[in-house]
């Protein structure tokens, strides 16, 4: 009774935002939709929260059909859109009270669920929402999305533009929320956050590229992958791209991730090619494919 999506398609005037996607989210699961801007994530969220009709396909959320039972869905899900959507002219406390009242409950009744998060913004409870910092807005929005104790929580890019520290705190909060039994569907463009989900779907151009656990998804990378380093990063990237046998070349922090077309690839060949071209301090060693490597390979 988590989320079920079957062959959902949606087009706007010029764009096919979703092209027949299907997946299931189990009850109590923390499921991540991982993909860049324009992949179709927001369209999917809007369909599942009954704000938009799909052109084709069916979907249900905690057992309710998104078209027939839209009222039941609205009562039982929490939705935090990508764009800050609370009332800027109401204070922190007023926003929270407003959302509780709309859903026929009180802040007091479900305070336990949000306590952890709300306590951090409580010192500012008389400040207008529009005057909060990005991190505080995010916490208030999450509190408002939870105040009616939803069965399913939808979070559309909650951490986009947020610094690494606040992102980590946010994910710690999500993990604690999950313990209360809530099903969570969360989208993000940050591949490192994918590793924190139970399962993930990689999505691009309205299609799902792959669904698996974070540990499982990297097994779909078809090649051996190598960390390459040298004294000049810019030259290194250019030289690797010009190398006749290269299969893929992507900068990854201090390394370049390299894979080779040949099955019998020998690192010594590459080493001598780079040395010949004048690079120094060359190091080549095997490494493991990351979720980001896998995404880029599948998105090719």
């Amino acid at each position: 009774m988590g989320i079920s999506v079957k062959h959902i398609s949606k087009s706007y005037k010029k764009v096919n935002a979703l092209k027949g996607i299907s997946f299931e989210v189990k009850p109590g699961e923390l499921f991540g939709l991982i993909g860049p801007d324009g992949a179709g994530k927001t369209t999917l969220f809007r369909i599942l929260t009954t704000l938009l009709f799909a052109d084709q396909g069916t979907a249900s959320v905690s057992g309710y059909d998104v078209v027939k039972d839209y009222k039941s869905i609205r009562n039982s899900v929490g939705y935090m859109p990508g764009r800050f959507s609370l009332y800027q002219d109401l204070t922190v406390a007023e926003n929270l009270e407003f959302f509780a009242t709309i859903f026929g409950t009180t802040v007091k009744e479900n305070y336990d669920l949000i306590k952890d998060i709300y306590i951090q913004i409580e010192p500012f409870k008389n400040r207008r929402a529009g005057k909060l910092s990005g991190g505080m807005k995010q916490k208030l929005a999450l509190s408002c999305a939870l105040i009616h104790k939803p069965k399913v929580l939808f979070l559309d890019e909650p951490t986009t533009g947020v610094d690494p520290v606040s992102r980590k705190e946010f994910w710690d909060m999500l993990k604690r929320l999950q313990q209360t039994g809530i099903t969570i569907l969360v989208s993000t463009p940050y591949m490192d956050e994918a590793a924190l989900c139970d399962r993930i779907a990689l999505i691009q151009d309205g299609k799902i590229l792959q669904i698996d656990t974070p540990q499982g998804i990297v097994k779909h990378y078809p090649k051996k992958i190598f960390n390459v380093q040298a004294d000049n990063m810019y030259e290194l990237i250019n030289l690797l791209k010009d190398y006749a046998h290269q299969y893929s070349v992507y900068p990854f922090g201090e390394f370049v991730h390299y894979s080779d077309k040949r099955a019998d690839f020998n690192t010594a060949d590459l080493q001598s090619y780079l040395t010949e071209k004048g690079l120094k301090d060359i190091a080549i060693e095997t490494t493991k494919a990351t979720i980001e490597d896998t995404f880029m390979e599948l998105a090719k």
Partner: protein, 242 residues
């Protein structure tokens, strides 16, 4: 300019009432360097950057950018730098070509220069086919690449990039960084903010701001050694969490 530094900052401070957003920061950026300017949300990065690009007057301290003083010559700074941010990039309701022409005009290029630059740019970015399309209809990654190129139209000595790759897909993000490398290789200084810590590793040097102060500044390699961390992400978490 006497030194090889394109940015020179000494005790730069900006206070709003009794809140000190930027608290006596000092650093310099060398010509042709890729300089990463990191910090948590609210650490004071944007405020500092606004002073450096000449749109916010400091409360105290000294700063020169591209040889010009931020107090005396803010307008000269604006002419000699490029700026691009994730939020304000280009005009959605103008076509690709109109945007380039518009910005070329703003930067005071001649018609002939604009024409040459437009052709060169479109070819480099592979955008010839969609030159007549509205910018609003382009995918985010293309917009960002175009926007970066437009920030370089007037061949500035330094370009400021404020979170240029937020929300962009991983492949385009890397193509974007290859553009940055190429630009730096050609001698333009890059001053960049990002929340992607793998991108911090691509910088020659990185500074990390915490509560209005620069708490660390070095090459990514030395910062990792200094903080006994495996990645820049760990360095950032250690510093910003205190």
């Amino acid at each position: 300019m006497v030194s090889n530094n394109i940015i020179q900052v000494e005790n730069l401070t900006k206070a709003f009432g009794d809140f000190t957003a930027v608290n006596a920061i000092s650093f310099e950026v060398k010509k042709g360097e890729i300089f990463g300017f990191l910090g948590a949300n609210g650490a004071g990065k944007t405020t500092a950057m606004k002073m450096l690009i000449g749109i916010s007057r400091p409360t105290s301290g000294k700063a020169t950018v591209a040889g010009f003083d931020v107090y005396k010559n803010p307008d000269a700074i604006k002419k000699n730098i490029g700026y691009m941010s994730q939020k304000f990039a280009l005009y959605d309701d103008l076509t690709v070509k109109e945007n380039i022409t518009f910005y070329g005009g703003i930067y005071g290029l001649s018609r002939k220069q604009i024409k040459e630059k437009t052709n060169q740019l479109l070819e480099e970015l592979g955008l010839q086919k969609i030159v007549g399309e509205l910018v609003g209809s382009l995918p985010l990654g293309w917009k960002q690449k175009l926007s970066f190129s437009v920030a370089l139209l007037h061949e500035p000595k330094i370009v400021f990039l404020d979170e240029p790759t937020g929300g962009v897909d991983p492949i385009t993000r890397r193509q974007f960084w290859e553009m940055i490398y190429k630009t730096a290789h050609n001698g333009t200084t890059i001053f960049v903010t990002t929340h992607y810590m793998d991108e911090a590793e691509y910088c020659d040097r990185v500074s990390i701001m915490v509560d209005g102060k620069i708490e660390a500044l070095d090459t990514p390699k030395k910062l990792k050694e200094q903080f006994k961390a495996k990645t820049m992400n760990d360095v950032f978490l250690k510093l910003a969490r205190g």
